[in-house]
Every structure is written in structure tokens, then in C-alpha cells.
């Protein structure tokens, strides 16, 4: 396949860089493993059987393609652009995370690995990983920050039911970044049999590429579906960014379509003034963490800060390197949405469309709520509704003073 010189979809380069971002910044013990993984992935990509296996599982296990739904009532309610939702919340396990897990577990099997480890924040990636491990009969260890274990109890129980071992991580603030450190420590110790199944489009090369490719099914389907429904491409696409996997999955197939505006929505938490947010692209600066160079929340001394978000899935002080690059070259805009705006959007969608979203895509929705009224009625927005809200009803109940 030939790629045009001027495409924005050809990254990363052979050293894993998107512009200055990405790369492989890991301890020497892991370098040979990462090089092996890269080779195994390149082999798999070239193997039609690998592609066929993923497609079959996507269709019959996950329930793909997920619908592209015209949100008629919300469109009317907001009085501007037509709003479509890519309904990845209808996937088996309730979010986009399964798209990535199925592909990576097939890769792990090809590599002959017999033990799977993962990190999780909200627990959605942990649930998806535990699910595919059950499906393929592999033992699964999930590292989860102790704070997140507390605020995502339903998912913790799900993972246990699925047979996974949950290791609460007490280091740091006990959130996603600490879970990732601990998963890396496990991997460095168990180099022979263990596959590290990273849950977002971050980490050392080739993970950002692997996760993006596997999540791109979202954008590819969206493109076909919107062309079928409207006969043209959308004017804007919107997704929430934690580590950035659902967003890059939606964005990537549209990167070369100049007419499509791209919005990544970061967790603005309690506001960008202090440290209580996770808007690494808006308020952070480039640094190196978890194997890649990317925008990070950090102090002047290069110490990584603990972020805050109402949504555990967005509570990460970094961001996938391809997003850092898309920001720098100006192809995508990244905007913060505050906790209370997300909470309002969560309730609006529930009441107007009868869909309870996860708090992560509720952030994307809050941006849509701002954007749609500023656009013409014949314009089109597609938002990635990447997760359902079952896991969040306790948190939201608490915030709204409803005792569950």
C-alpha cells in the first residue's frame, strides 16, 4: 500500500515518534520485549488470518458494527447542528475498551504468552481485559489504584467474577498512573511469560500504534455509516480523551479530511487554575513518562502531578503521544470540560435521549452541547459515545445527593 507524502495518518516513524512525541523510553530489561512486540505486531498486521479473527470476534462477540444513531431529540433541544452518536457504549462490556483487548489478546496468543497483566482506572479496561482472558482461558492480573478500587466498586466485582486477580495500588494517589507504574514493575519482573495489555493509546512504541489501529474500527465504521446516512462527511467529530484511545480511534480515519473539525475533550476537573484537573494538553507541558514523550501534568522540577477528574477514566496526567502531535500541528483542538458541566450533560442525555452515558463521554457531550448551537442546522456533529453509565450511577448518585 502506498501512502501519500502529505497524509497525517502515516505515523509513527520507525522509532515510534509522532513528531517529537512518542518513542520508547523504558528500562533496558523491557527493550528487547518491546522490540519483540513490534515484530510480532508487524507480522500479525500482514497476516489476513489475524484480521479475520478480529473481525469475527468484533462481529459476534462484541456486537460490531455499533450503530451510528441520529439523536433527533437532542438535536432539536440544542437547536443547531445535527448530532449523531457512535454507540460504542452498546459493545459487550459496555465501552470501546473491548476493541483493543480482543486484538491484543490475539497478539499475546500469537506470541505464546501465557499470563496477561493490565492497568485500569475506571475499571472498564480491567473489565474488558478480564473478559477476553476468560474468553481465551488465560490468567489475568489487573493493577488498579486503591482510590479507584474504592470509587469503581461495581467494576471491581465484575473483574473478580470474570476470574481476574485485582491488585490495589497504594503508591501515590492510588489512581491510573500508579497502576501503570505497578504494571510496568510486574512486566519487568515476569519477562518470559507475561503480556502487558495496555488499555490506552499511550506507553512505549508500538503500543500507541497498536491501540490506535485496533480502535480505528470506530472511525472506519463511522465514516461508512455517516456517508450512508447523510451522503457526506461530518463537519465536526468529538471524543473524550483520557489516555486517548477512543478519541484516536474515531479521529484517525478522518485526519486527512480537512473539512472535518476534530475536538478532543479533556477533563477540566474543578478548573484549570490549580492542580485539580487532568487537562494535560491544555495545561501541561511535554515530558517523558510511561515510555513515551508527551504532554504531562508536572511541576517545574519534572515531578508528575496527580490530576483530578470526576471521571476515573480521564484521571491520568498524560495523554497518548499522537494527540500531543495532533495538537502541535494544529489538526485537532483540545478543550477542557469541568466536572459540573459533565455532570449536567450526563443528566441531559439521560432525560432527552434515554441513554445513560459514562462520565467520560459525558465530557465529550458537554462540548457538543456548547458546539451544536453555534453551528447551522444542516451541519453534522458525530460524537463517540464510548461507554455506558452503569458503572457511574453510584458516583453520580452521590454527587446529586441521592443515597443508593
Amino acid at each position: 500500500m502506498t501512502t501519500l507524502a502529505n497524509t497525517m495518518r502515516s505515523g509513527p516513524d520507525e522509532r515510534g515518534h509522532f513528531g517529537i512525541f512518542g518513542g520508547r523510553y523504558v528500562a533496558e530489561t523491557l527493550m528487547p520485549l518491546i522490540l519483540d512486540l513490534e515484530k510480532a505486531y508487524n507480522d500479525a498486521k500482514a497476516d489476513p488470518e489475524f484480521k479475520r479473527e478480529i473481525e469475527t470476534l468484533n462481529k459476534h462477540y462484541t456486537g460490531r458494527p455499533s450503530p451510528l444513531y441520529f439523536a433527533e431529540r437532542l438535536t432539536e433541544h440544542l437547536g443547531g447542528a445535527k448530532i449523531y452518536f457512535k454507540r460504542d457504549e452498546l459493545n459487550h462490556t459496555g465501552s470501546h475498551k473491548i476493541n483493543n483487548c480482543l486484538g491484543q489478546i490475539l497478539l499475546a496468543k500469537r506470541m505464546g504468552k501465557t499470563r496477561i497483566i493490565a492497568e485500569t482506572g475506571a475499571g472498564q479496561h480491567g473489565v474488558a481485559t478480564a473478559t477476553v482472558c476468560a474468553r481465551f482461558g488465560l490468567p489475568c492480573v489487573v493493577y488498579m489504584g486503591a482510590t479507584d478500587v474504592e470509587r469503581q466498586k461495581p467494576n471491581v466485582f465484575r473483574m473478580k467474577l470474570l476470574g481476574a486477580e485485582i491488585v490495589p495500588v497504594t503508591a501515590g494517589a492510588g489512581t491510573l498512573k500508579d497502576a501503570m507504574n505497578e504494571a510496568l514493575r510486574d512486566w519487568v519482573t515476569n519477562v518470559d511469560d507475561t503480556y502487558y495489555l495496555i488499555g490506552t493509546a499511550a506507553g512505549p512504541h508500538p503500543y500507541p500504534e497498536i491501540v490506535r489501529d485496533l480502535q480505528s474500527v470506530i472511525g472506519k465504521e463511522t465514516r461508512e455509516q455517516i456517508l450512508e446516512a447523510e451522503g457526506r462527511l461530518p463537519d465536526a467529530i468529538v471524543a473524550a480523551v483520557g489516555g486517548g484511545s477512543n478519541a484516536i480511534g474515531l479521529f484517525h480515519p478522518f485526519l486527512d479530511d480537512e473539512s472535518v473539525q476534530i475536538y478532543g475533550v479533556e477533563a477540566g476537573g474543578r478548573g484549570l487554575d490549580g492542580h485539580e484537573h487532568c487537562a494535560s494538553l491544555t495545561a501541561g507541558k511535554p515530558g517523558v513518562l510511561h515510555g513515551n514523550r508527551t504532554y504531562l501534568l508536572q511541576d517545574d522540577d519534572g515531578q508528575i502531578l496527580e490530576g483530578h477528574s470526576i471521571s476515573a477514566g480521564l484521571d491520568y496526567p498524560g495523554i497518548g503521544p499522537e494527540h500531543s502531535w495532533l495538537k502541535e500541528v494544529g489538526r485537532a483542538k483540545y478543550v477542557p470540560i469541568m466536572d459540573d458541566e459533565a455532570l449536567e450533560a450526563f443528566q441531559m442525555l439521560t432525560k432527552v435521549e434515554g441513554i445513560i452515558p459514562a462520565l467520560e463521554p459525558a465530557h465529550a457531550l458537554a462540548q457538543v452541547i456548547k458546539l451544536a448551537p453555534t453551528m447551522d442546522k444542516n451541519q453534522i456533529i458525530v460524537m463517540n459515545l464510548c461507554g455506558r453509565g452503569d458503572k457511574d450511577v453510584f458516583t453520580v448518585g452521590g454527587m446529586l445527593g441521592f443515597n443508593l
Binding site: 533496558e28 528487547p32 511535554p286
Partner: protein, 277 residues
């Protein structure tokens, strides 16, 4: 590169027919003043080479002992400026003991690598060990360090096979640090036979001294590993000794400095018993 303090020190130990004792402490643990006092006391206790940890919020390759040491230092307000000040202070009274800064890339990256290596050199630093920057990224930090006159010491590990070893060794200077286990610092399961074979294998590729670390805990370990290696590195047990000497509120006591120096003395004796024929 011209001869550095590290080169001279390994040569001197080799002439005495013994491995160098390389000791690690985290800068600022448990507080700046105590940490400086420990640093100053290390050479007399028997440390030949000093690794000074630059605390980082996310020490991915560290086991619990050094994670906790890092937290103690950061909670006490340690910064890179203070770490460099500790070295400047040390150099006022010790012109010979090599100091290697050890840590992670981000705190260096945010200060600009070229500016950092110059500042470190001027402060009296002799080498760098940066865990998360592999040879594939040598142009970013390793080459600037060499140009500033700092040794850039690389880790070779059990997963570094013969095919990869030349790349790892290419720009390494000072010594090679062999990580004796796949795992994090403070791991158990030190296997002297495997380590000895690995050291022989590495020596087949380089004339540099080879020091072994990750998992050396006792004077006996230092003796056993030191029979073959040119240096033995101890860290986790030293920061554990600091931890155990603290009072109930986590503050240093009058025993803190001696807790470390006593242990270093016994490890140094172990290393000396490895004296080769």
C-alpha cells in the same frame, strides 16, 4: 573521553585486587541535612563509588524500599537544585570519590539535557545512570553527557542478549552496570552462578569494568558476587536502614547516619574478602 574519577577509582580497586563497593542513597532522604551528612560519611565507611538518586515521582524500576525513600525525599522538599547543591557541598571536602546521579529522564528533560549535563559536571558529578532512556535515544542525553565529560553508564540486563549487547555498550563509559535479575530494585533471588556467567559474557564484549546490582543485600552477597564482578552495587538495604532508624513520625534520629555507615562498613569488608588471587 579523558580519564574520569570513575575510571581512576575502578583502576585503583582493580590494582588492590578487589571489587569496588558502589553505594546508592536517595538524595534528600529522609531530609536534606541528614542526607548530606550520610553522603559525606560514605567514603570513610568504605564506599568507593556513590550513586545519588535523583528523586522522581514515578520510579518505575524501583521496588518498595527505594519507592519509599523517594517519597520521603520528595515530602521533605527535595529538588534537583538541592541534589546538585549536595554534590557541590561534598566536593568541598572530597575531590576523589566519584558521584553518579541516578534516576529517570523527565526531571532532566524539563531542565534541558544539554544545560543539565553542564550544570551537573560543574557541580562535581562524574556520571549519569538514567533508567528509562535506552541506547536507541543516545542522541538525547548520552551523547551530550559524554561531550560534557560525564560518563554515561548503561544498564545491561538478563534480557540483553549478545545481539543487543553491542548497542548497549556502544556509548557506555565508566563501567557497565549489570542488573542481576529481571525485576525491580530490591528483588530477591540473586543467583551467583548466573551472574558470574553473565559478567563473563559482558566482558567478552568490552574492556570496561562490570559492576553488578539489584539484589545484593549482605556482606556475603558482596563477597560472592565480587569474586567475579569489578563492582558491587547496594541500594535498597541502605535506604531500608535509613527507614528503620527513623522515629515514629518518620524523622531522622541520631542513629540514622551510623545505621547507614555501619552497614556500608560491613558490606565493604565483604567486598574485600572477595579479594582475587
Amino acid at each position: 573521553m579523558t580519564e574520569t574519577r570513575i575510571d581512576r577509582r575502578f583502576k585503583a580497586c582493580a590494582e588492590q585486587g578487589r571489587p569496588a563497593l558502589v553505594t546508592f542513597i536517595t538524595a534528600g532522604d529522609p531530609d536534606l541535612e541528614t542526607s548530606s551528612a550520610i553522603l559525606k560519611a560514605l567514603p570513610a565507611a568504605g564506599a568507593d563509588v556513590i550513586e545519588l538518586g535523583m528523586p522522581f515521582s514515578d520510579p518505575m524500576a524501583e521496588g518498595v524500599p527505594i519507592q519509599l525513600a523517594t517519597l520521603r525525599a520528595l515530602h521533605a522538599g527535595q529538588t534537583m537544585n538541592k541534589t546538585l547543591d549536595m554534590v557541590r557541598e561534598f566536593r568541598k571536602t572530597d575531590a576523589d570519590t566519584p558521584i553518579i546521579l541516578m534516576g529517570y529522564y523527565n526531571p532532566i528533560y524539563v531542565r534541558e539535557p544539554v544545560a543539565f549535563v553542564k550544570e551537573a559536571k560543574e557541580a562535581g558529578v562524574d556520571g549519569l545512570i538514567v533508567v528509562d532512556i535506552p541506547p536507541e535515544a543516545d542522541d538525547e542525553l548520552c551523547i551530550p553527557a559524554m561531550e560534557a565529560g560525564l560518563n554515561f553508564i548503561r544498564l545491561a540486563t538478563p534480557t540483553t542478549d549478545d545481539k543487543r549487547l553491542p548497542a548497549v555498550l556502544a556509548n557506555t563509559s565508566g563501567f557497565v552496570y549489570y542488573v542481576s535479575v529481571t525485576g525491580i530494585t530490591g528483588s530477591a533471588n540473586l543467583n551467583a552462578t548466573n551472574v558470574s556467567e553473565a559478567v563473563t559474557r559482558i566482558k567478552g564484549h568490552t574492556d570496561l569494568p562490570v559492576a553488578v546490582g539489584f539484589g545484593i543485600k549482605t556482606a556475603e552477597d558482596a563477597e560472592n558476587i565480587g569474586r567475579k564482578a569489578d563492582g558491587v552495587v547496594v541500594g535498597s538495604v541502605l535506604v531500608n536502614a535509613i527507614k528503620d532508624s527513623l522515629d515514629a513520625d518518620g524523622r531522622a534520629t541520631e542513629k540514622t547516619v551510623s545505621a547507614v555507615t555501619d552497614l556500608v562498613s560491613s558490606l565493604a569488608e565483604g567486598a574485600r574478602r572477595a579479594r582475587k588471587a
